[in-house]
Amino acid sequence: MSAPRRGDGVTLGPPGPEPTDLGRFGEFGGRFVPETLVPALEELELEFRRAWTSPEFREEYAQLLAQYAGRPTPVTECHRLSEHLGVRVLLKREDLTHTGSHKINNVLGQALLTQRMGKRRVIAETGAGQHGVATATACALFGLDCIVFMGAVDVERQALNVFRMQLLGAEVIPVTSGSATLKDAINDALRDWVASVQSTHYCIGSVVGPHPFPWMVREFQRIVGDEAREQTRSILGGDPDFVVACVGGGSNAMGTFAGFTDTDAQLIGVEAGGLGIETGHHGASVSRGVPGALHGARSLYLQNEDGQILEAHSISAGLDYPGVGPEHAALAASGRAEYPSATDVEALAGFQLLSKLEGIVPALEPAHAVGWLMREAGNRVPKDSTVMLTMSGRGDKDAMQVSEMLAEQAGR
């Protein structure tokens, strides 16, 4: 495969490895759901397996990615940032896709599947609103009914995306239970699905949930890593030393890592450090979570000594989740990937630095990856290393929030 360029068509790489029995990645994954949902998940697994090896489906999906989502996205070499940090930085530009984040890759695949299954109603959860916007977009494109569950706290801090979803014809349902953020939005989406499963597809937005979701969503996101590997090779003449992506549920990171697992690159997933790991207010599920089962999968979750799930904290709604996809839990256990964190403050610094030096305003989620690199360049990432970092989305949605926070910081 030669390096994909904008304007070329999209060529899908071969399917990646399937998890073992009942969706296991090592000791993680599985299907911990109410009996009512089991038959629908079995059907979805069959349909996806069939579709993913079907030339017609793959062709249709590739066409959508090219003509609708605007793929391939470029890899941009960041000359000024590289000079500033003393390491050579390349960005995979998912911020340039239609709707402005990697989430579109997954929803186009799932919308096609929804059609194949003959369902007409789609539900989704959203944190930052990016997955909600992407789902509403795909539903508008395919003429499907779309309902998005969104934590009331997130409805507040992501007002722009709420309006975008409504404009696209989706109904946004604010969720007030629990911490009123992403975890609770998933709870309510699951509650809806238990009642509506015969007519409705649940379009999960990350590599979380019961089998087959973590596998399927990784496969729909692997285009990010497959493209980036070839593009990085053509720029660097080889593989990068580090591959870095932010981790909420972990879909942009998993899609990215999928292209690099068989290289020598060190894989780094950056979690939300929130107010600082030591404060307990963070979203660092891999480094501080313990094994448990939530939202259908055995994975790592933030929980108290009685097994009650804790609220996560992050400046970015998209990383404000107390769990992580099971494949990440397995990659952490095997040591193939590492999961450090960046704090709210570090993410804000990354947000500003990338804007000033490269003219690229990142979403707050990947700003964590930039913040981590600022801290670790010359340390964990030795001088002159090469780094491929996934810019999972653009920062327009966060501009208001960041401007308020910076004003607050300045006032203090």
Binding site: P39, G292, D306, G307
Partner: protein, 257 residues
């Protein structure tokens, strides 16, 4: 006591079975509620161990769970408080898999057993994921009740009935717990399908909200589980007397059927 033996015994005497659900740790007097419910005609009682993220539950039980957690209920405290309870009927705990997993399969099963708790219902642990827990439960003499749903295929239904202990829990609607004005259309069909494949007691639950609905649901099955309608009365301050009164009405409804 043994849940299945007790329920079979009552059924074979010609009675319809009534299993009310009470959220554990909901107020200081929650054990009095359990006793009152038993005295008012329950054949067994389901005690909920609250979990932070109850995805099978509607607003009423969500709120009850949250209130119980807020005043300090934990899996350990509820299991301990049930120790020595002289309700005179079998007790089954109902919780989600994470608290069980967190305590550890063996430890959870042994603690239930040590507290004289007969059975466990874990709605997000379906047949295919059962092994680790069910082995530990069997070893500790704790009966694991499995759920069958309207969406379950006939083939799975057989396997579920085969593996279930205590009784088979027929999900009486497509959805989550919560009161409904009408009995769901799925209820009778669920009861009929289960009765056709198993001799174990078959109870229908979810959405059954009043004596009339209980009577109709029990006509196609061996009895009913009633949760939200009872828990709402507790949330409204009904206390042991209010709970007993409602359970008594349910009992009468079933006895008329």
């Amino acid at each position: 006591m043994n849940l299945e033996a007790t329920l079979r015994g009552a059924r074979d005497r010609g009675a319809k079975l009534l299993v009310p659900y009470v959220t554990g740790g909901l107020g200081r007097g929650w054990l009095d509620v359990v006793r009152a419910v038993a005295a008012a005609g329950a054949d067994a009682i389901e005690v909920g161990i609250p979990f932070s993220d109850p995805v099978m539950d509607g607003r009423t039980i969500q709120e009850a769970s949250q209130r119980a957690l807020d005043i300090g209920a934990t899996p350990g405290s509820i299991i301990d408080e049930l120790d020595g309870l002289d309700a005179g009927v079998p007790i089954a705990v109902m919780t989600y898999y994470n608290p069980v997993h967190h305590m550890g399969h063996e430890r959870f099963a042994q603690r239930l057993s040590a507290s004289g708790i007969d059975a466990a219902i874990v709605p997000d642990l379906p047949l295919d994921e059962l092994n680790g827990w069910a082995d530990a439960a069997d070893a500790a003499d704790v009966e694991t009740v499995l759920l069958a749903a309207p969406t379950t295929s006939d083939e799975r239904l057989h396997a579920i009935c085969e593996r279930s202990r205590g009784f088979v829990y027929g999900v009486a609607l497509l959805g989550i717990t919560g009161e409904r004005t009408e009995l769901a259309v799925e209820a009778t069909e669920m009861g009929r399908r289960l009765k056709a494949v198993t001799d174990k007691p078959v109870l229908l639950g979810l959405g059954i909200s009043n004596p009339d609905q209980a009577r109709v649901a029990a006509a196609s099955s061996d009895g009913v589980i009633v949760g939200s309608a009872l828990v709402r009365r507790l949330l409204e301050g009904g206390g042991p007397e209010g709970a007993a009164e409602f359970v008594h009405e349910l009992r009468q409804g079933l006895d008329q059927g």
